[in-house]
């Protein structure tokens, strides 16, 4: 096959190969160094099943919450002109640069039982978020929201505003145009954003363990289980990491094939 544009330049191909190796080598090393004999025993362990289920549950709920509140926020950023829009977009990116443990500390300050919101909430309803599965979902939502909002905002921008205008000339309200024109056009980007958010939640550790704690069945997600296993049994931690890796990749590949058929 001859590319009419000429040979691909080596100064692009070499760094690209390096990037591929950097991503690939640690994963191969993990697979190679995993004690396969332990895997059967690991898969049967109750803690693993609880943690994997909790990870999937909380990541999925967090993804849906991110969609429900993130899609409207992305629309506001993509479609409305208002003072402070740049500031709002900067705010959305904050969880991206904040170390997750710091995010956990911030969440504790806000929603802990003595927190700014947490204390009145506890007084009025008796509810507390730390140490609960809802707390895990909150931590996941906080760290995943930027991925979802930024991906969807990009998609909404490429589903150009002119289509909204065309819909308006045909008598569509702004809400109707959003539902029947903007969202369908941006759908691949919206789904990609949801998948990014889900993947980020599956890997979330710092904010979750700081804010929600670590207890099997209620707040212990896969990354927390891997971390505490690392303390006593590094070989078990390796096979747990492998389970999470294979599972997440399988889910993402399946979803991609199902929803995002890219040429």
């Amino acid at each position: 096959m001859k590319d009419p544009l000429g040979r691909p330049p080596a100064r692009l191909l070499v760094p690209a190969a390096l990037a591929t190796l950097l991503l690939l080598v640690p994963l191969v090393a993990l697979v190679v160094s995993t004690p396969w004999s332990l895997l059967g025993e690991q898969l049967a362990s109750r803690d693993l099943r609880l943690a994997l289920w909790l990870s999937v549950l909380t990541a999925t709920v967090a993804m849906l919450v991110c969609l429900v509140i993130g899609l409207p926020l992305a629309w506001v950023l993509a479609r409305l002109e208002f003072p402070g829009r740049g500031l709002l977009r900067a705010l959305v990116t904050v969880p991206l640069v904040l170390p997750p443990v710091a995010a956990g500390v911030a969440l504790m300050a806000a929603f802990g039982r003595n927190g700014l919101v947490g204390a009145p909430l506890r007084e009025l309803t008796g509810l507390t978020l730390p140490y609960s599965t809802a707390g895990v979902v909150l931590a996941h939502t906080f760290v995943s929201l930027p991925f979802v909002v930024l991906a969807i905002e990009g998609a909404l921008r490429s589903a150009r505003k002119e289509y909204d205008a065309a819909a308006a000339t045909l008598g569509a309200t702004r809400w109707w145009a959003f539902r029947t024109v903007t969202v369908p056009l941006a759908m691949p980007g919206i789904l990609a954003g949801m998948m990014l958010g889900w993947a980020r939640s599956i890997g979330e550790f710092g904010a979750t363990i700081t804010f929600a704690g670590n207890y099997p069945g209620t707040t212990q997600t896969m990354p927390s289980l891997i971390y505490v296993s690392m303390n006593s049994n590094p070989e078990a931690a390796r096979s747990l990491a492998l389970v999470l890796l294979v599972f997440s990749v399988a889910v993402l590949v399946l979803l991609r094939d199902r929803w995002l058929a890219t040429p």
């Binding site: 802990g112 670590n214 207890y215 971390y227 505490v228 690392m230 303390n231 590094p234």
Partner: protein, 246 residues
């Protein structure tokens, strides 16, 4: 193209950084998280007695540190909060000498100042929001032993990843009680109240120390270990809540 070599300039400025340790001696101590404040205080005294010496630390959970030492993580001395992690390090051929015991520690209950849940002992923990270390770390294993010795079956709301995280939950008043070491309780000062646990004297946590195979401190590692046994060393350890080695 003629500016291409300019990228070297920022790289060249990094060169001195890689060589800066040559003018003074450096001792790197890898130690259990529960030794943080005490070792930092000891380092101040140690540096006074040893001119031009700088002590740097890496604190963490004993088991993690032992694993890292086996993997060749830089460090001259390893101090663990239990015997098991030290044995792990020995089995991984990470130790330069046989370890020695230099202190002991016991578990206590800490509650936030004012004791909001009115806790007086292990038996009161059931039904409150209390925390302890995870089963997989030494302070968690010790907690389990004491709970079963006292025939208490209370479940914590969270199994924290280390003793500092457990203490933090109580200091921040995000938990009604926590099981931590006596030394952690002492380090938290007035932010917490301490309640002794029946039988804790019989379940001591033993601290071990020894130079690592990657020790390149020119004998400073052994001087640090000797310093712990000196009068100054013993005074600081006792003030921090540590007990004498058995």
């Amino acid at each position: 193209m003629k500016f291409r070599h300019l990228v070297l300039v920022p790289l060249l400025t990094l060169l001195p950084l890689s060589a800066c340790s040559s003018d003074g001696q450096e001792l790197t101590v890898v130690a259990a998280a529960s030794l943080t404040e005490t070792f930092e205080e000891l380092a101040t005294e140690f540096e006074k007695e040893h001119d031009g010496v700088e002590v740097t630390f890496s604190f963490g959970s004993s088991t993690t540190l032992a694993e890292q030492a086996i993997e060749g993580a830089p460090g001259d001395v390893l101090a663990t909060a239990d015997e098991k992690s030290m044995l792990t390090a020995r089995d991984g051929d990470a130790l330069a000498k046989d370890p020695t015991e230099f202190a002991t520690n016991r578990l206590v209950i800490v509650v936030p100042a004012g004791n909001p849940a009115q806790i007086t002992g292990l038996a009161d923990l059931a039904g409150t929001d209390w925390v302890r270390c995870d089963d997989e770390v030494p302070c968690g294993r010790l907690a389990l032993t004491l709970l079963s010795a006292n025939q208490v079956a209370a479940d914590p709301v969270s199994r924290e990843i280390d003793v500092k995280a457990t203490l933090a939950k109580v200091v921040e008043n995000e938990a009604d009680a926590g099981l931590v070491y006596a030394t952690d309780a002492a380090s938290a000062g007035d932010a917490v109240e301490t309640i002794e646990i029946a039988g804790s004297e019989g379940e001591l946590n033993r601290y071990f120390i020894t130079p690592l195979v990657q020790d390149d401190s020119d004998g400073l590692a052994q001087e640090w270990i000797d310093f712990l046994a000196s009068e100054t060393g013993q005074r600081i350890l006792t003030e921090a809540g540590f007990g004498k080695p058995e």
